[in-house]
């Protein structure tokens, strides 16, 4: 009989699951009614008190290591960041906010020497002071070393007379060190210095030179050295399950001033979920405090009184990569053709039907919230009046590609007289990529281009389509092996997502310069190469000059279309509505040590 009871329960569950769930007001843990719009920190009047555990749901991958210098993945840096602050961070307006630094970086008149002064109240767990020597040791003996293979060492390298060399860190006194460069880089502080976190020299020195011992050192893998350097202290990491940090009562910022008493949560936990559906169910049930919300579920969560949803811009962008190498359609090497293709793909349609309204149109590589963003003179292909398929057909005809009508449908003729058929490659498993692929196919079909969609696994995409080498040469495949290199398999279009550092976009040179390390599609424009060099010269130290260079770059790239820019997606984050102190913006969590649970 039990059997039937169990199955009846399951049947009821199945039926219930098919209906849209009602707001779970009976399960709420919130005591604060949700305002109709997200509130800012200034709207919260309750006094912060230390209470409760903040559980942040995450459906991405787990971190690989807490020994951050070995990490190449974002999650590892994120976990460690709860226990060790960096030298500085940014607020939502991209103002530099000091963390371990006592005062802003001082830059010499020749723009080559950076003087960094750290706070004098930073301590390791054993009570020893954190000194400038620890930072310099971390740089010289760990990050620049050959034995450790720090993956992001190029942040600290420069090219001098054709040679790649490291910058020179030097200890000045206990709290001050300098970093000397031989070439000017206006974004060096943004790209490298502000993110620097130290290792304790007196602990690490015993592992120096032995990569295996360093990799497996218990103190470095359990973050037991972090002292008062971050708002939380490491408590537990269960792989593929959760990372738990406990409140650090000695947190250097929490001792006085506007940050006094912070952080205000007993524990900060990152809980990993295998699916976003399960994660969102946990948020709805009140089992976790925050989670990312899928676009299709935003309306549902916004209607729940005990959840607040924040929609913020991100620094990523969706693109259609155009193969301009010899094994792609030759038309893609023609700027007019690229413009015609971009004119045929509606960005508004991408926003509406793929991103469900949570995106902004993208025309170039710098996102709107960046201080370097401009839309002045930037061509807006695929948007407004420049979404025009008839004009696109005329441009194609002007470029030598006639459209004939075959069986009542338009068919673009290649130079060889055969219908043009393009191969669009994407990876399976992401509904966004799949929907983008189908939308692009549909749009290009309207101007007579047949598109074949190929879905291949990520590893195959990298090995067979992205990596390239010069044919018949004994060369290791790479992401950009020069203009003569081609991928193993021919392709024309790839759906991808890239990212721009909004405050230091010059890093995008890896995508758009002729020898850029990630320019696997073979784009080359000497004017763009020159602008990217220019933006790293002494002249560009002046923000006005830099803004001008970025404006020119934005205009050139928007006009040249090395890739077809589609959208800058917006991210949606759901919080239990009793979480107070949040400062809405692109950098939503910049002040997370000041968040707290509003008391009833």
């Amino acid at each position: 009989m039990k059997f039937y009871v169990v199955f009846l329960i399951i049947l009821v569950a199945l039926v219930a699951g098919c209906t849209s769930p009602a707001p779970s007001s009976t399960l709420t843990t919130s005591s604060t009614p949700s305002p109709s719009a997200p509130s800012t920190s200034t709207a919260i009047t309750a006094t912060p008190q230390v209470s409760g555990d903040f559980i942040d749901g995450d459906s991405g991958g787990d971190a690989e290591t807490l020994n951050w210098i070995l990490a190449a993945d974002a999650a590892s840096f994120s976990y460690v960041g709860h226990t060790v602050d960096s030298l500085a961070t940014y607020d939502n307006n991209w103002n530099v906010v000091l963390r371990h630094m006592a005062r802003p970086v001082e830059i010499s008149k020749d723009d080559l020497t950076y003087t960094i002064t750290i706070r004098d109240d930073l301590e390791w767990s054993d009570g020893q002071k954190v000194t400038a020597g620890d930072y310099v040791y971390t740089l010289k003996n760990l990050m620049f070393s050959d034995w450790l293979n720090y993956p992001y060492r190029s942040d600290w390298q420069e090219t001098v007379n054709g040679e790649t060399v490291f910058v020179e860190p030097v200890v000045v006194n206990d709290t001050t060190f300098t970093i000397k460069r031989r070439t000017v880089d206006p974004e060096f502080a943004d790209n490298a210095i502000y993110g620097l976190t130290p290792y304790p020299e007196h602990i690490v020195i015993k592992y120096e030179g032995d990569a295996q011992a360093f990799t497996q050192a218990p103190e470095l893998n359990d973050l037991s050295f972090t002292g008062n350097l971050g708002p939380y202290r490491f408590q537990e990491w269960v792989r593929n399950d959760k990372f738990v940090a406990q409140r650090n009562p000695d947190f250097y910022l929490g001792q006085s001033g506007p940050d006094a008493g912070s952080p205000f949560f007993e524990h900060f936990e990152i809980k990993l979920f295998g699916t976003s559906t399960a994660m969102q169910a946990a948020l709805e049930a009140g089992d976790i405090t925050s989670a990312g919300i899928e676009p299709e579920d935003v309306a549902k969560f916004k209607s729940m009184p005990d959840i607040k949803v924040y929609t913020e811009p991100t620094s990523g962008y969706d693109i259609v990569v155009l193969n301009q190498r010899q094994n792609g359609w030759e038309g893609l090497r023609n700027k007019a053709v690229r413009q015609a293709l971009a004119m045929s793909i509606s960005k508004q349609e991408v926003i509406n039907s793929v991103r469900l309204g949570f995106a902004d149109p993208a025309f170039s590589f710098i996102p709107k919230p960046s201080p370097w963003y401009t839309d002045e003179g930037v061509s807006q292909f695929g948007f407004g009046s420049l979404y025009n398929k008839e004009e696109a057909k005329q441009i194609l005809a002007g470029a030598g590609y006639e459209i004939k009508t075959v069986e009542g449908k338009p068919a673009l003729q290649g130079r060889d007289g055969k219908p043009v058929k393009l191969t669009l490659v994407t990876t399976p498993g992401s509904s966004i990529s799949e929907n983008l692929a189908f939308l692009v196919k549909q749009e290009l079909t309207d101007i007579g281009i047949e598109v074949e969609i190929k879905e291949v696994p990520w590893a195959t995409l990298l090995r067979q389509y992205v990596m390239n080498k010069v044919p018949d040469q004994d060369q290791q495949p790479g992401y950009n092996n020069g203009p003569a290199a081609v991928s193993e398999q021919p392709w024309d279009l790839i759906i991808m997502a890239f990212n721009t550092n909004p405050v230091a976009p010059s890093g995008s040179r890896v995508f758009f310069t002729s020898d850029g390390g990630l320019n696997y599609w073979g784009y080359s424009n000497p004017a763009v190469d020159e602008r990217f060099i220019e933006v790293s010269t002494a002249a560009a130290i002046d923000p006005e000059v830099r803004k001008k260079i970025y404006s020119e770059l934005s205009r050139t790239i928007a006009d040249d279309l090395p890739v077809i820019f589609l959208t800058f997606p917006r991210g949606n984050s759901g919080f239990r509505s009793n979480v107070a102190g949040i400062d809405p913006g692109m950098r939503l969590s910049w002040n997370y040590h000041k968040w707290y649970f509003a008391q009833p």
Partner: protein
């Protein structure tokens, strides 16, 4: 079967198991290294975010883990370390592989064990009842639900159970809590939904297999004779029907054990956030974490071989006529 015969047989099978496992590990090792993946692949997204040259990052990572050495050297080191009891260092989780497995096996084991008990007990009992009461309303009901149980994908069932019992009714937490002591009622409660999710399909299968096997045996002459001799129905069913009918069901259960260990448990672990070996191995495959993948393959092979051996031994208990000499 005599005791000596059985011991010899078991020893021979164990020796085979070791050889087969070694072969499986070697093939896995070579295939993984020859495959078109690298532990650096998954960093491309982050490299793009940090606008780094991927070739440099990939080279640094491969060099750190010795993946830039010749294959024969990597294999030699691996085997030598294996004999020293060093199963390697997991570079996707930053801990010794053995510690990783020691920390996580229990989550999969408890889920698999409870699901097997739940599904086998209920499945066999319902199947037996259904066969003995053939063509009654309850038999039709059991058959109907066993069809549903087989048809419902467990990832869908799991999500539906969470939405009803966790989100709507609030009876259970939406995810498994690793902070609970394994031997506690709270842990048992936390496993209710995962066990139903994983066990429902298997239970439905056992119901159908048991029903069919019992029906076959009910028609045998030995059963008719037992009934004619006036034996009580419970003895007829217990001694003459179930004992014979159970053998194929045991084979299926053991087969399920292997398939659950190798994959079935993964989806349930994903849905309920259980950090068991299913998730560990799945993530290790995607991270090209060779030491973890090879070790889990090795353990999986041993589980299959040992469960097969256990099945053969259990056969002799149920049917003394079986000999292995």
């Amino acid at each position: 079967m005599r005791r000596g015969e059985l011991q010899g047989y078991v020893l021979k099978r164990l020796l085979y198991a070791v050889l087969i496992t070694f072969g499986v590990v070697t093939i896995t090792f070579i295939l993984l290294r020859l495959g078109p993946t690298s532990p650096a692949d998954k960093y491309l997204a982050n490299m793009s975010a940090r606008t780094q040259d991927p070739a440099q990052v990939a080279a640094a990572i491969e060099s750190r883990y010795g993946l830039d050495r010749p294959l024969w050297q990597q294999y030699g080191n691996y085997v030598a370390n294996l004999f020293r009891g060093n199963w390697g260092w997991s570079f996707s989780t930053s801990m010794p592989v053995m510690s990783l497995i020691k920390q996580h096996w229990i989550y999969s084991f408890q889920l698999i064990l409870l699901s097997l008990i739940f599904s086998a007990l209920l499945g066999i009992l319902i199947g037996l009842y259904s066969a003995v009461r053939q063509y009654t309303k309850l038999d039709y009901l059991a058959t109907f639900f066993s069809f549903i149980g087989i048809s419902v994908p467990n990832f869908w069932l799991g999500i539906m159970l969470i939405l009803l019992f966790s989100v709507q009714l609030g009876w259970f937490k939406t995810y498994y809590d690793t902070g609970l002591p394994i031997l506690s009622l709270a842990n048992l409660k936390a496993l209710v939904l995962p066990v139903i999710t994983l066990g429902t399909g298997m239970m439905a299968g056992y119901t159908r297999y048991t029903r069919a096997a019992v029906l076959d045996n009910l028609r045998l002459d030995v059963v008719k004779t037992a009934r004619a001799k006036g034996l009580p129905e419970s003895l007829v069913i217990g001694n003459h029907v179930l004992r014979n009918a159970i053998l194929p069901v045991i084979t299926i259960i053991m087969f399920d054990l292997s398939s659950v260990v190798f994959g079935g448990v993964y989806l349930t672990e994903v849905i309920f956030g259980i950090p068991g070996l299913g998730r560990i191995s799945f993530n290790a495959i995607f991270a090209s974490d060779y030491p973890v993948v090879t070790t889990i393959t090795l353990i999986g092979s041993l589980v299959v071989l040992l469960t097969n051996l256990a099945t053969d031994i259990v056969y002799t208990w149920f049917d003394p006529r079986i000999r292995y000499d």
